[in-house]
């Protein structure tokens, strides 16, 4: 079975590719470039095409499958009515599959299960990464707020942090939120020197 993975995220594509490697009798091709996508697919003649839901080329791809004379065998969206839950799971995971005419559902399902697991694994990774980035950004914001308090009120660093924490506790908010409010207020007063930090477009 020849499987093409179409994904503009190279990281995710390689995670899927790794996951599918355990399938026997499968050749896997990864297409991450939008340019000449259809020409590449025509050359590969895949039996299965996996594409992420967020890929802007999906409509182009469906049109191609529907009308192209370049394809020797027709390809259609994999919609197995006997197993709507499995399709639902793939949509939930963010992947859609197009399958060449005549390929049996029993051959596709294990492949879909693997792809779904890999997509979900990637989504978790991304969530973890976003959380880590968020924490880093929070820490930077708190550092800036501490600096403002230290400069303007002559506090030591632990005192400045204590002030932020006290305010956060008394207003049931996160320290990072208090820090952000303080930094924003500071910039608004013209002391931040940033000037352009206020997003005027969002009314």
């Amino acid at each position: 079975m020849r499987i093409a993975i179409v994904d503009e995220s190279t990281v995710r594509a390689s995670i899927i590719e790794d996951g599918l490697a355990e399938l026997v009798d499968c050749e896997i091709f990864v297409l991450t470039e939008r340019k000449a996508l259809l020409a590449q697919l025509a050359k590969l003649e895949p039996d299965v095409v996996l594409i992420d839901l967020g890929n802007p080329s999906r409509d182009v791809l469906e049109e191609y499958f529907a009308v192209s004379r370049a394809l020797s065998k027709p390809i259609a969206m994999f919609v197995d009515e006997s197993d709507d839950d499995a399709i639902g799971a793939s949509i939930d995971a963010g992947v859609s599959a197009y399958v060449v005419d005549g390929l049996s559902a029993s051959r596709i399902r294990p492949l879909m299960d693997l792809a779904v697991r890999r997509f979900n694994a990637f989504a978790r990774l991304e969530a973890d990464l976003a959380e880590a980035k968020g924490k880093l950004a929070d820490r930077e914001m708190i550092d800036r707020a501490k600096r403002i308090l230290m400069d303007s009120r002559g506090l030591s660093e632990p005192e400045a942090y204590g002030e932020l924490r006290r305010k956060a506790m008394s207003s049931s908010r996160k320290i990072a939120q208090i820090a952000e409010a303080l930094v924003t207020a500071h910039e608004l007063m013209g002391a931040g020197g940033g000037g352009g930090a206020v997003d005027g477009a969002k009314t």
């Binding site: 839901l53 967020g54 080329s57 409509d59 469906e62 049109e63 191609y64 919609v79 859609s96």
Partner: protein, 402 residues
Amino acid sequence: MNLHLTIGFLPLVDACLPILAHEHGFAEEEKLTLDFVRDVSWATVLDRLLYAHTDAAHLIAPLTIATTLGRGRPAQPLATPFVLGLNGNAITFGLDLAIQLGLGDALPDPAELGTKLRALATTRREAGRQLRFGVVHRYSSHNYKLRYWLAACGIVPDRDVEITTVAPPFIADALAGGEIDGACVGEPWNSVCVERGVGVIGLATAQIWRRGVEKVLAFRASTLEEKRAEAEALIRAMRKAGEHFVREENWETNAAILARREYLDQDAALIMRAISDRLVLKKGHPAVYYSDFMFQHREAANFPWISQAQWLYSQMVRWDGLEYSDADARLAGAVFRPDVYRSALKGLGDSLPGASSKVEGSLSRPTPVGAQSGSIILGENTFFDGPSFDPDHIRAYLESLP
């Protein structure tokens, strides 16, 4: 009771009504909360609707009919109780072609432009390099209006010119790279091509069919039954949003809302062009006013006329090479649900037509029509080449077309 709906959309100006119903509190007045899911392809907007990630979606109207009839995948019945607007798309030509067609100063007469294009298309075809046009989707009104115009001008789609699918955000690139010679797309993407200096707007789809149906709000037929109260609340909220949308004093506010990152993520000044019916056809030129470029709210524009759905079905038969069938025509017509629209707005003083179907394209001047409530004067709604569409005689209509 608190009502809630999740709505899928693509970042286009004609996704405005549900967004503005939410932003201006019209939904809240109906005790309805809305969440939005933005996507980048119609295929994904449809998947999310079919697999219940969303309850309703901003969708290209012919796709709701294709899905119901099972074109390209197993049939799943969809239902459309509300048309999100009429027209609002344009055909943008690449710079070379625009120069040869003499475009840029004004929107030309569609028939005259077609005659010029026909000569060029013939030359290119004979040279073995067919002209190529992009459309946003096979089952879009963009595709059908472009084909309607070409065919009426003696240009045979798929023979004289090639028509291919290009995603809206990539149309400017495709024009710049010479992959396509023109494209029919919604706003703000024509204006994006103009501002990038890679295309010239040559024709508004409103010039092809003066009152052509555009995007719709679609539900799965079963969801519409289960969430009927929510759907009707949304219809009322969107009617109020439409009233707000067409008033000039609100244009800038609404453009600024739609421009936000979570919605269209585009320049508000570009969005203003469609809202105000004032298009810059060519980079650096002054804006040109074209009345009803994007038609909203008035003349019961959001009413889902069964005849509109059936016109789209007629074009599906025409361009997919299907066998016409009365049963399919009825199925297609039944996707549009004027009964739900009426039920939502009954007794509120809004204009409700007396009929649910009409002869499309038959009015050459403003004409009062029978109304269940309010008074309705329908404006000119002709096709540029003359013939009207009688939903009772679809087969004869198809036979009369080139």
